[in-house]
Symmetry: C3
Amino acid sequence: MAKLNEYRFFDSNEKVREIAFELYSGVKDLPIISPHGHVDPKILANNTPFPDPTELLIIPDHYIFRMLYSQGIKLESLGIPTVDGTGVEKDHRKIWQVFGDSYYLFAGTPTGAWLSHEFSVVFGIEEKLNSKTAMKIYDAMQEKLHTKEFLPRSLFEKFNIEVLNTTDGAADSLEYHKKIRESGWNRRVIPCFRPDAVVNITAKNWKKEIEALSKASGIEISSYKNYIKALENRRQYFKSMGAVSTDQGIVSPYAHQLSEKEVNGIFQKALKGSATEDDANLFTANMLMEMARMSIEDGLVMQIHPGAMRNHNKIIFERFGADKGADIPLQTEYTKNMHELLNKYGNEPRLTLIVFTLDETSYARELAPLAGHYPAMKLGPAWWFHDSIEGMTRFRQNVTETAGIYNTVGFNDDTRAFLSIPARHDLSRRVDSNFLAGLAAKNIIDIDEAKVMSRALAYDLVKKAYKL
Amino acid sequence: MAKLNEYRFFDSNEKVREIAFELYSGVKDLPIISPHGHVDPKILANNTPFPDPTELLIIPDHYIFRMLYSQGIKLESLGIPTVDGTGVEKDHRKIWQVFGDSYYLFAGTPTGAWLSHEFSVVFGIEEKLNSKTAMKIYDAMQEKLHTKEFLPRSLFEKFNIEVLNTTDGAADSLEYHKKIRESGWNRRVIPCFRPDAVVNITAKNWKKEIEALSKASGIEISSYKNYIKALENRRQYFKSMGAVSTDQGIVSPYAHQLSEKEVNGIFQKALKGSATEDDANLFTANMLMEMARMSIEDGLVMQIHPGAMRNHNKIIFERFGADKGADIPLQTEYTKNMHELLNKYGNEPRLTLIVFTLDETSYARELAPLAGHYPAMKLGPAWWFHDSIEGMTRFRQNVTETAGIYNTVGFNDDTRAFLSIPARHDLSRRVDSNFLAGLAAKNIIDIDEAKVMSRALAYDLVKKAYKL
Amino acid sequence: MAKLNEYRFFDSNEKVREIAFELYSGVKDLPIISPHGHVDPKILANNTPFPDPTELLIIPDHYIFRMLYSQGIKLESLGIPTVDGTGVEKDHRKIWQVFGDSYYLFAGTPTGAWLSHEFSVVFGIEEKLNSKTAMKIYDAMQEKLHTKEFLPRSLFEKFNIEVLNTTDGAADSLEYHKKIRESGWNRRVIPCFRPDAVVNITAKNWKKEIEALSKASGIEISSYKNYIKALENRRQYFKSMGAVSTDQGIVSPYAHQLSEKEVNGIFQKALKGSATEDDANLFTANMLMEMARMSIEDGLVMQIHPGAMRNHNKIIFERFGADKGADIPLQTEYTKNMHELLNKYGNEPRLTLIVFTLDETSYARELAPLAGHYPAMKLGPAWWFHDSIEGMTRFRQNVTETAGIYNTVGFNDDTRAFLSIPARHDLSRRVDSNFLAGLAAKNIIDIDEAKVMSRALAYDLVKKAYKL
């Protein structure tokens, strides 16, 4: 990618472009609040140099290697570790060359846009990555990665990150969060409570996870009642470590309170390993109700991320494990599925329930009308496959007219790739500025409103929604 | 809102903008035909002054107060009357101040666009509503509301309304329509036959509604056969009072003719109060078939509005009643559900069946192909949450290529808020002009075609479709 | 339509327009590869003149007559032949006049755009078709149709068609393909293997089709095993006649391998005429698995076209037969339905599985994520109702960010109307050039990338995907 154009991603129309640039200029240097993501806190706890460009950018990023895989490049040849430890490519320069050869595949994708930003803004590399330049770029990056300026904490500061949320299992000791706190480094890296592993009662490792939860909480989990107590205990611990939110990844947002007898019956079956898929769905539905109740009690913001069928490709899952680019969205229904939850808790001022979706058809049809009515409900930003120029634009176009912008919660990057954080926030600030510029150019809003809204989308809303 | 820009809502591109302005200029002063809406005919029958801005704009408009509610403002504090009559805010100036404080929430929403139009064009107020200006604006409006020019009939004439349709229950005496007719005022305000209350056999008040229907028609309703006779009788009465159409609000457009035995069986169960939800769904499906048959016989245009889950928020429903901004759309299927109806009546030249949707996913996939084939079926305009700049634009973009514009029926405002009628029609004329200008600027149509189409969308199509 | 503007269909913005024109100029004269369509090979085998404009353009084109029908024009009056041979309009000039009277209905539709191209570019007619010009245009076209330049093969050459795929039943003798090959004409017209008639076990003519398949393959079909052998045999024959692909039109993409016992049981029921709809659905699901396996073995590209409810209008179907503009799309699910197929064969490098859809909601939600992961799966272009300016634009906007362009397969015209082939390819090249120009103008891609991608979309990708 040649030198990045400072007007990139803005509308081609001169008038919109100029307003977008003006709005963007007002927000581009605001601190980054990253209220939801998957960066490993160990990186910031240990603060050791990133080993090399391949280890940094390719191996942890399923956005990248799934695209290469779709074009027939084996994951083994990209160095993706196997579950059983059988051999994969170890030569990281060779892997980078494959990446360079295939970089054209990302033209027009958000991954392409983020990588351009990372190369240019973070590494100062202006040359376009391709077969010929691959090794030269690798070497230039490698050199920088071993300087002090490229240590994780230096980058964190350079990126102007105000808060970084990680995502952590219910039984997690949060040792790296502790280490960061104890290190005297004065930046805010906080955990988020994600109980999926102890909620999915038919998952292979559920029993093990329950044991870990029991150990972590010091509560023997022989009944549903104690299970809930253990979760409440862990939420308190997370809070004490700075957490402001929880997160649940679910297939469907169906919520339904079971009677104590019903739910304990299912829980006992689960302990015996005999719970069915129907049991699991009911149990998850029940846990959405419980998590909402707990959030009202302890004040943690509740997030739900429904609609992904995880590990669609069994061959890949068995050989390489989870999160390998084979999670595929499903159609998702909210109006009926969330009826009981919203009736019970949706009018509750102490609850903030942030809902994400991979099913854009629900933006205008279900989510905006729900968030435009229930005080507890807010809409999370365009998520995952939709964290992109077109995706974010569709989100604003579909949601704003019914829910306004004040029932949305700004941006989150949801990334595992530390270096992509500023790239993703920059892209989001550009796209939102451009959206507002479009409204202003059409006299739907005036420029003063646009400025206030632009700042709200970039900074104020996320800070308020997550109580930061 | 500062003085309204005369190019507002048009594309930022100069060429499109100029063509849009030219097209809009040709249609902006055409009379308004409002073929579907919810204005109370009493307003025009009595022709007394609107009491004050809060009573006029806020209390009857769920578009406005649901947005305030979503941001934590209690409906009580907005003066929304409770079902049990327990106290709510009575100080309308205080309510208006809350509205002024929160007016920024409507930036980028159609409500914001309509209100700007009402303030500026109807009241001549150019200042922006906010915390500081709220009381000043209230007073200015209040003063105008007590002038002769602001009497309902004066506004009706000023708005250049050619026909206004109301919506009326099957048992309605249409007394205010009668009063208008008898008053010698020569404007056309006509009823629309909406039988929902006597079709929803499991609704709490159904038996009462049946008694009212019986009384109104003079037909004892002890059997399905007599029930149908009573409906036919009322349709005749509505026709005699000027009605040209019927309307049904349904959850699903599923249509299915039951045998006389089946349907009478369900009807008898309903009379005994023992009908189930399944019975109710079958009965509604059957009534869609009956209503189509009756329309073929008596010539009333048939409208169906499927896909809203009414009164989603039970707490709000129990405290404040229906139509409080908590009706939430559902996914809706047409291809299979309307199969029987379209097979039986879709080829019938005497039937005009206008279908609305809240589920935009069906525009291009199901509705445009159906309307682009069946002679009886036409598409109603972008409805409710989609009666907006983006919503109408998506409607045209999704529908036109398959169904053309001649299988659509122009605009309707569907409003309870009398003052929003010209605002809504103006917005619609702007958006359609802009859509056509986009086609012309890309040489998809030429300017002569655009002019004819622009007039068709603003006036000709609605007049023809509703046989006005 | 007046003389066609050479910038037609491009964005109104000057910058996008100019880039689009530049990109389009680079691809507009590339040969046409038509990898999927329904042109009758007999036309090219016999190479006799097209009889007249009505016979050429109206009678075979359901895009045209369904629109006229939707506006109340009887199919009889358009000369559409009836199943029972009862009389329809025979005066082709009179039919053309009706068409001219109604031509305004196509404003803003792809049919309108294609016809404009055909009149202007193919026939050199610059006057707009309407009531007054209809007969003059008819006569001018009629004159040309009887010149040598308008013989089918002359047009084929003038259109610069490199390959034309037809669609042919499993039992088809491919006699016209043979005739073309033997004629010494050196152009490539190849068959595509479409087994629908022998797969739909509950279709009225299934037994007859099985007999024809048996005869064509020389294999007695008394068991499922032999049925499969017969299909394999025919695929070999098609391959020997130049075929590179298969195609299946299905309601749902549900794929599931039955046990040999199960499937033979269903097959035996089918032979006895007692198979149920459930049996048929399972059988089709099983045949998707079989067709994928066969494609891996014999190398034919596999295409699936799910989601149309065929012959929705029974009155029209019984009087005029299939393909009369009454096929209506259905919602379609891919993530779950294709799970088993993709798990078994999706990682297979020898398989190319091209998936089409009529349900645009699945573009970004399901299809792009699937094609952006599984090496075997590619996305077919915007299909049927979506083969249009807006439809193709939505396809690119929804698919590119997740799947890139290299998991798509260029354009196909899917047409029965021979004359529309260059019109459709030209429109597609314009729309894709314009899409890429939009990306370039926003600095999402650079102009060099845009040029490579433009050529890929117009020519390279289709050639590679179909192994041509």
